[in-house]
């Protein structure tokens, strides 16, 4: 580890901190329908969407909100599926790529609809420009906006003063979706897209370039409208790369500045939303407590990853006596180095982005454990756009339930009593996550069609399969790689896992929102559990880590943990 590396990490933290308040406050004004400076220049667009869609903007119950979200997602998923299957008949296909195979098209449609952006295919080799832009790029916007919508709906449920007579309303899905897209995602993408172009990210619709290499060989260099996708890929924590190499590709992520900006964009909205929530709750300090818990988990993760990668492979360093030098550079871009690669890996897995600038598969056992465990914490360390906040709020509800009892009161969160129904729904939410991951992974490791495309044996192979399903259910989308995921089994199983990880968790979250929205809130007093300040943040961290660790520790010990001990003993896979 070097001072330079730590400076990069700390500089990144400072930048995240700096954008949290302005972006959070802006999103608060946008999402709650207050005045803001973009209302004049872009208001027409919002009104146009409403007129075209016949949106009245009436308040919805949680059921109506869920139905709108599910119907919208189903429809857009279908469109993306159709586009891929028919791309050979449609324009903007200069490479004359054929129709995408059914299982792969299902997987990709599910992947982009759920904000996962897992890619079982190589983008430049299988998708036409039209499929990339019309099929995928817009999902980057709307799946992110849908995440924000769910988060703000749950936030409303927690902060609205109910009448105590049955469930309340939680806003309007179409309005939330439109506002998040028009005022937050689009303007930021326009401005920053130009910045990315200025740094050398390509943006064109020309055919791939045939180049002659120095050795005299022929190389086909992929082209395409990359910059316009690059910003939303990060900002919407989508992570689906235009190129197969994702952010390790020089056309996607050419230099240190774009790399830094990319990471900042990943954390910007999730971090800002904690402040938005604080404003909605009328208690900014509570928002900071959530931020603090996330920041602590993030720093812990990045420290371990950086330490493990900088130390290099224990087998090589300890057994062969080779100096660590730069550290474990295998699978990392030289232009980013150890610190920026470890940082990027932590950021992209903490937030459910999944863009990568290095190969997580090539990390040391412990270094690779960090991205894996980050996702297994439930994507709440800043987390996906919106998804991070609603996941964190569900964890907060559970924390409050256990800790609230310890202060001798029926647990309450922001003054709302947490009772059987909320606990039931919150448990359902946390239950689905390990259920889908573990069942699919366990299934895959014992069947021939699960193992046939595996490139590595032993604990490392287990980690690869576990990582794939963890990434899918967590809607992260990054890959440990090392398995050929473009098979019928993995395309189908991972596609289902993504849909379950997204929608089976969103519906309980919205149900909690609706039920809590109708509840009366009692004002906080010295006898109520304090939900701001370091004590609450520490409690939250404790619950998140213990729930995550207790659930996944057995399988992790058979994967990365045992791999680490084997590496110490000189056995590698």
């Amino acid at each position: 580890m070097t001072p330079n590396g730590w400076i990069q990490i700390l500089l990144f933290c400072a930048a995240v901190l700096a954008v949290t308040v302005p972006l959070g406050a802006f999103m608060y004004r946008v999402l709650e329908g207050h005045e803001h400076f973009l209302k004049k220049p872009l208001g027409w667009l919002e009104r146009l969407v409403y007129r075209l869609g016949g949106v009245t903007g009436a308040e919805q119950s949680w059921q109506a909100y869920s139905v709108a979200l599910l119907a919208f997602s189903a429809l857009t998923m279908l469109v993306t599926y159709a586009l891929q299957r028919l791309q050979h008949l449609l324009p903007w296909n200069p490479q004359k790529l054929g129709a995408v195979e059914a299982a792969s098209a299902f997987n990709t449609a599910a992947s982009f609809t759920t904000n996962t952006n897992w890619q079982g295919y190589a983008g430049e080799a299988s998708l036409s420009y039209l499929s990339q832009m019309a099929g995928l790029a817009w999902h980057n916007f709307i799946s992110a906006a849908a995440g924000i919508a769910v988060a703000v709906a749950l936030a409303r449920g927690l902060t609205r003063k109910g009448e105590g007579r049955g469930p309340g309303t939680i806003g309007n899905f179409w309005v939330d979706l439109t506002r998040a897209t028009v005022y937050v995602l689009l303007p930021l993408c326009l401005v920053l897209g130009l910045v990315f172009v200025s740094q050398g990210v390509i943006q064109n619709l020309t055919p791939y370039v045939q180049a002659q290499t120095l050795e005299g060989g022929q190389q086909l260099i992929a082209m395409g409208p990359v910059a316009s996708q690059e910003v939303i890929k990060q900002l919407g924590t989508n992570g689906g790369g235009f190129m197969n190499a994702n952010a390790a590709h020089p056309f996607e992520n050419p230099n240190a500045l774009t790399n830094f900006l990319s990471m900042l964009l990943i954390f910007a909205i999730p971090a800002g939303l904690t402040y938005t929530f604080g404003k909605m709750a009328g208690d900014v300090r509570h928002g900071w407590a959530l931020f603090g818990a996330m920041a602590f988990l993030f720093l812990a993760g990045v420290s371990v990853a950086y330490w493990a990668e900088a130390g290099g492979s224990p087998t090589i360093v300890d057994r062969l006596g080779v100096q660590a030098g730069l550290g474990n550079m295998e699978g990392k871009e030289v232009r980013f180095g150890i610190a920026s690669s470890a940082l990027y890996a932590t950021v992209t897995t903490d937030a459910s982005c999944g863009a990568v600038n290095s190969m997580h598969d090539s990390f040391t056992a412990l270094g690779g454990l960090v991205p894996l465990f980050d996702i297994q914490l439930g994507e709440v360390v800043f987390g996906g756009v919106g998804a991070g906040l609603y996941g964190m709020l569900v964890m907060a509800i559970l924390s409050v339930f256990i800790a609230g009892l310890m202060v001798g009161r029926t647990p309450e969160y922001l003054g709302k009593k947490i009772e059987t129904r909320e606990v039931k729904l919150a448990m359902l939410y946390v239950l689905i996550f390990p259920l889908v991951i573990l069942v699919f992974s366990a299934w895959s490791v014992v069947v021939p069609y699960g193992l046939s495309s595996l490139n590595n044996a032993g604990p490392h192979g287990l980690s690869e399969i576990l990582y794939a399903f963890t990434s899918a259910v967590g809607n992260n989308g990054s890959a440990f790689a090392g398995i050929g995921a473009n098979t019928a089994w993995y395309n189908t199983a991972l596609g289902l896992a993504m849909l379950m990880g997204r929608f089976w968790m969103i519906v309980p979250a919205l149900a909690i929102a609706g039920i809590l929205a109708g509840k009366k809130a009692s004002p906080p007093g010295p006898g109520t559990l304090p939900t701001s300040g370091p004590l609450f943040a520490a409690l939250l961290v404790g619950v998140i880590v213990i729930v995550g660790a207790l659930t996944f520790f057995p399988v992790l010990s058979l994967g990365p943990i045992v791999e680490h001990f084997l590496a110490l003993a000189g056995k590698v896979y």
Partner: protein
């Protein structure tokens, strides 16, 4: 306290009964009520079957008999210990219920039918029946006195040996079945149908027979069941993950891991905690009508306290003589005493006593025929005596002013000022006159009960707001409120205002607790979230409340709140402890499971346990023993300290969270050492 008294859980009889009950509770239909322990029971059955299979068929690749046998044995112990805890908590209630049931001895009631008495068995009485009860007879059922007045010995129900007066009309008309009339004759209208009486309900409650899970208990059960499912998935999927890694786990080992991970500690003690919480209230002589009310007590934000009887002693006491200009204080005291000699009210007596204590004036024999006493009347609002030609009066300032002006005197300015000063300080001024001459003012003061200020301060620290309710004027109220240290007061209160105050507080999302005894308290009691009716109160009040205080002591509210909080805290602390325990159990069992194929994982065996089988067994044994070790805590409840929520949380997290992580490391290692030493592994 006599009948509803503390029965120690550790009496031999109760212990024996609880052990039997623990076995009886193994019935899977009963166990299914508690999902966590049900899983353990299924695990016990499974391992027992495996052990039998191995014993009879001796298959090759399996755990040795001694290992499966011991694991299975300790799993059964885990279930039994949990059942034992519940049975023990119930046992105390059962002993109390048996004592109460003795009171229900069949009596023959004298039912009035068309004005004539007709002997009817008490169990045949229905709501609305009229019965006659005379001195020496037992009241046959709950009801209301509609005719007559009698002294009643209620010690059978309340434990209070001094008899109480019950009379028709007013707030002291309710009688309870099983109590004994000591004097006179009353007619009682029966208020309940058979099986519904107060005594019946009390028996049902203390026995726990009709015990339903309370809302928070259900929510906690949901959480624990959810965690059980998560661990079930984690353990079951570990089998294929193991197969992939070349490990084949035995069912015994997986079951052992599962049982150690699921929250058996809290799962096993949860219902005992709830029953014990009810029991603690009953030992304070408060009968909760539902478990829900006990939980709500922990959540109370605002406490409404009647001034009289709760904050102040029932009566005002003379505290000072303030002579008028030109009058001596002895002269005033003497006149005041003369005016009060025949005044049997506590205020009157306190004047006599004060005069005696301060000025050595002995109570004089006043049976002299020339003394003529004038009793207080609502018209004159004065009392006093005519003696030796003197006309001595005491009364309210305006009444005396009118009286002396009729006799040609007037009230001196300084006396008027003294009257005002006394009123402002929260006292009641009584002016004393001798003929047309005003002698001065007697300061009657509300006496605030001792120790209340400290208690209210404690409650403030807990985040509870106390509001004093009084019919006094705002000045008086403010002064007493300040002296008692309550947070707020409501002066010149009427029952309607009380009800409105409760609704307002509830609209702000607060939970309100109050006590009451009168019929006019009933609407407010019904509205309040925690309503304690005094046992001495009317039937209406007792039905509106959700708890009954047998001692009729309004300050009991404070204990009730503490018990409620203690109940919730005990649940929270043991849940935290239970979950935190899992960390150590992982470090015990996982390395043991993986060691066969991955000996390199040995450093994870941080406790240095003797062998893989010893590690698993030690964790299972520790898991069972910790339930037994925590039974006393579950029954007693964690200690409650009146601190703010933040301080409480920090403390509990440290003790039960951090402690929960550390303790099992030590415990499992200790069990391992013992098992190895004894040669069981």
């Amino acid at each position: 306290m006599s009948h509803v008294k503390a029965v120690s859980a550790w009496e031999a009889g109760i212990l024996r009964a609880a052990l039997l009950d623990a076995l009886r509770k193994l019935d899977p239909r009963l166990m299914a009520r508690n999902p966590v322990m049900f899983v353990v029971e299924v695990g016990s059955v499974l391992t027992t079957l495996l052990w039998l299979r191995d014993l009879l068929l001796r298959p090759v690749a399996s755990e040795p008999l001694w290992f499966t046998g011991q694991v299975s044995l300790w799993l059964w112990f885990t279930v039994l210990f949990a059942n034992f805890a519940e049975a023990l908590a119930e046992g105390r209630g059962k002993a109390q219920a048996a004592a109460l049931r003795g009171l229900r001895a069949e009596t023959v009631a004298r039912r009035l039918v068309d004005g004539r008495e007709q002997p009817t068995p008490a169990s045949g009485l229905r709501k609305g029946d009229l019965v006659v009860v005379e001195a020496g007879q037992v009241v046959p059922g709950d009801g209301e006195v509609v005719e007559g007045i009698a002294s009643v010995d209620e010690s059978a129900v309340t434990g209070e040996s001094a008899p109480v007066i019950r009379e028709s009309g007013g707030d002291r008309s309710a009688v309870t079945g099983g109590t004994k009339v000591l004097s006179d004759r009353v007619v009682v209208r029966i208020g309940v149908d058979p099986g519904q009486s107060f005594l019946d309900r009390m028996i049902g409650l203390v026995e726990g027979a009709k015990r339903q899970k309370t809302p928070n208990e259900i929510a906690l059960h949901v959480l624990l069941s959810g965690m059980t499912i998560i661990f079930l998935i984690a353990c079951v999927t570990l089998v294929p993950f193991g197969l992939y890694s070349g490990l084949s786990f035995t069912v015994t080992a997986v079951v052992a891991l599962l049982v150690c991970l699921i929250p058996t500690t809290i799962g096993g003690l949860l219902s005992a905690i709830g029953i014990a919480g009810m029991d603690r209230l009953i030992r304070h002589n408060v009968i909760p009508m539902s478990g829900r009310a006990v939980e709500a007590a922990g959540d109370v934000d605002t406490i409404l306290l009647d001034k009289t009887g709760t904050i102040t002693l029932g009566n005002r006491m003379a505290s000072e003589f303030l002579p008028a200009p030109g009058a001596k204080v002895e002269e005033l005291a003497d006149a005041a005493q003369l005016a009060s000699l025949a005044d049997e009210t506590p205020e009157g007596r306190s004047i006599v006593v004060l005069a005696k204590e301060r000025h050595g004036l002995r109570g004089r024999e006043l049976k002299r025929p020339e003394a003529h006493f004038v009793a207080f009347s609502a018209q004159t609002r004065m009392s006093g005596c005519d003696i030796d030609g003197r006309v001595i009066r005491k009364g309210a300032a305006d009444a005396i002013a009118a009286h002396v002006s009729r006799l040609g005197g007037r009230v001196p300015v300084l006396v008027e000022q003294a009257v005002k000063a006394v009123a402002q300080s929260g006292g009641t001024p009584l002016v004393v006159s001798d003929g047309p001459r005003v002698l001065g003012v007697v300061h009657l003061k509300d006496i605030v009960k001792g120790g209340l200020k400290e208690r209210f301060a404690k409650f403030r620290a807990m985040g509870l707001r106390t509001v004093m309710i009084t019919g006094d004027n705002p000045l008086t109220a403010a002064s007493i409120a300040a002296e008692a240290g309550v947070d707020d007061f409501m002066a010149e209160a009427t029952p309607e205002m009380k009800l409105r105050l409760i609704r307002e507080e509830q609209a702000k999302g607060k939970l309100v607790a109050m006590t009451g005894d009168g019929t006019n308290d009933a609407p407010a009691l019904a509205q309040a979230d925690v309503a304690i009716a005094m046992n001495s109160g009317t039937q209406a009040a007792r039905e509106a409340g959700n708890m009954v205080d047998l001692d009729s002591n309004p300050t009991k509210l404070l204990e009730v709140v503490e018990v409620g909080k203690q109940l919730l805290m005990t649940r929270g602390c043991l849940t935290t402890f239970s979950i935190a325990n899992d960390v150590a159990k992982y470090f015990a069992i996982l390395p043991a499971l993986f060691m066969a194929v991955f000996p390199e994982i040995a450093p994870l065996n941080v406790m240095g346990l003797a062998s893989p089988r010893s590690a698993i067994l030690s964790a299972v044994v520790f898991n069972a023993l910790v339930i037994v070790a925590l039974i006393p805590l579950a029954l007693r409840g964690v200690r409650y300290r009146p601190l703010g929520a933040a301080a409480l949380l920090r403390r509990s997290l440290l003790v039960y969270g951090l402690g929960g992580v550390v303790v099992p490391f030590v415990g499992i290692k200790a069990v391992d050492v013992v098992l190895a030493a004894v040669g069981l592994v």
